[in-house]
Symmetry: C2
Subunit: 412 residues, 2 copies
Amino acid sequence: MGGILKGMRVVEGSAFVAVPLAGMTLAQMGAEVIRFDRMGGGLDAGRWPLAPSGQSLFWAGLNKGKKSIAVDMTRPEGQDLVTRIITAPGEDAGLFLTNLRVRGWMDYETLSQYRADLVMVTLMGDRHGRPAVDYTVNPALGIPEMTGPVGWPEPVAHALPAWDIAAGHLVVSSLLAAERERLRRGRGQEVELSLKDVAAATIGHLGLIGDAALNDKERGKSGNALYGAYGQDFVCACGRRVIVIGLTHRQWRGLVKATGTEAAMAALAARSGRDLNDEGNRWHLRREITAILRPWFATRELSSFAEAFDAAGLTWSVFRTVREALAEDPDLSEDNPMFKLLMQPGLGRFPVPGHPAAFSAHERAAPQPAPQLGAHTEEVLGDVAGLSDTEIAQLFDTGVVQSPRFGARPAA
Amino acid sequence: MGGILKGMRVVEGSAFVAVPLAGMTLAQMGAEVIRFDRMGGGLDAGRWPLAPSGQSLFWAGLNKGKKSIAVDMTRPEGQDLVTRIITAPGEDAGLFLTNLRVRGWMDYETLSQYRADLVMVTLMGDRHGRPAVDYTVNPALGIPEMTGPVGWPEPVAHALPAWDIAAGHLVVSSLLAAERERLRRGRGQEVELSLKDVAAATIGHLGLIGDAALNDKERGKSGNALYGAYGQDFVCACGRRVIVIGLTHRQWRGLVKATGTEAAMAALAARSGRDLNDEGNRWHLRREITAILRPWFATRELSSFAEAFDAAGLTWSVFRTVREALAEDPDLSEDNPMFKLLMQPGLGRFPVPGHPAAFSAHERAAPQPAPQLGAHTEEVLGDVAGLSDTEIAQLFDTGVVQSPRFGARPAA
């Protein structure tokens, strides 16, 4: 087997979404990723959603395929140990990801004294080092004011921690870019970014800052409509809801043809004096277009047109809850080679995803479950930190480290 | 100057968010990124939001710092040219990103005949090659059912193309991983992923699939509340809205202390028999906690507590529109080294973001504007495709390529 990053060793000191996702993405590409936590588990050890057992599905989801060590970092021996693991020798080691921002023993200045070519990526809340989470960054930058039903008087937060996800992936690519440079020039470096800057940059990239700076109007909410062209949701006769997209010219023509609304759309274009082949005109006339399409969907069951829509190559989807998706969408099952049905102790049996990319020079790696807290403590102390059995035993005896065998509760 | 990827050359054939964002992220780390488009511009040339001139702020935002060539790919000469550019020699070249999925002349099998170590990353709609966009993937997998005001009877789409953003960054890290392998083992490869698989994997990583599989209840909507612990929005006496977070123990204690609600929270804990130091209990009691905190905010102006909240290290934010953020948040101005105030022809003057990460071995690179469509056609034909001046002139004469000098409309 062996993923595309096989041989790379990354150490991760983290909690919550972004940096755990980064480490896991690297692990799912074949890197050896060692996550260290404090004794008893990190800040995210019990993060929701939970399994019926009370164990964290969130933690299990974001730490798949990693090695776990549990260390008492309030003690100098624990700090020494973590330092030793982060800065252990190895051409493809000396890579450290963190969002913990511990000054002193765990900062770049100190750690790089033990390994000059260390690559360390630190994710902060904001660029000033102040705390921030997806739930605060998002309202600060205006997305909730654009989200939600037309006319709804309040901002609507997104349910998906989208900025955490973006930041996690930027941690991955920043690490790979810095490791690439180290490979060529031999030098390590510190990489710093913040969740808020990731969000601020992204809204700039999408044109939202230019829009706010140059245009007089706030964008406001547009419900489930596709912004700037045509896309809308409809309820069918069977009660199921679908969204149909007319973003590109081809999508738009396909939608009009599939619904047999050519004449009505032509009449709308003539009446309004606007060419519906222009995406902006479709946006301006979205309410009128929707009024034409609504009866079509309202009088048809989903099953009566789904196959024809697919055959016509339309861009569309049914709405589902996650439970409905799990029940009816083969893309969330083992029919999809990205998924594997895993039985995980303390959690249960359900489809678990691997890395989304298929690399043609590698077999697709099956997703591995998350470790129990401290499950790899002995192994990492020996193989990575280079300690003797006697030294390892002493660390357990004095309670500097923890493993499930030597009295620790499982984290996941 | 020179970013961390200086010397790398990437060719991009793309439209919309994900792959353009991927190419731009690489460009902002110093790679030479050549985007090719069809004559007159790609599918996203006019994507909203628009500047007052009618030019696309979206296109300008997602193609910053790239080189642009415009080629008639309906003609064999145009296809040959693009093939030559994608597969041009150079140790750090032969890297190709696309979401266009053109079979035949532009697929991996054909292109790799011209350069055996080609690395090509293709983003599809879904794993079956069917079309999908953020607006269809998101409802298919259940996020809109979790989004929006409590009790609102309809799914609410997110306004941010979060899956496109995640997919774009996964394209970046997949490319860097494949290029890393090429550097070590000399072999190229094809990398394929789909937008829907990115979303499906991510909801799995976040524990949502396990939750749906193992627990009886749908998660449902929770408005602007932080799921699974405590976080809520409040309207202040001045009318401004804030969100405050009590996710970690420390955040929770800080919030209670700053609002002087220790006694009321203790009484709630006693009354309910639930320890509020447990994050799940804070979630179960969120309505009661909110009832305690609401009068505190309702009777205070934002300006009366903002500094104290910051001084206490609370995790919180005010809500803003993008325009408000631009007016009042220094993080969206040149006070933030990530931003540069750029005057862009046809658009206007506004703060433009660079890459969110600061690499300690490199100066922070200032963001560069997007090119006009075809602005680098001559340069790329000469320097990359290796054509003579005569050959280049002939391609312009016969209309196989386009540049602003030789009669093309600007794309941005």
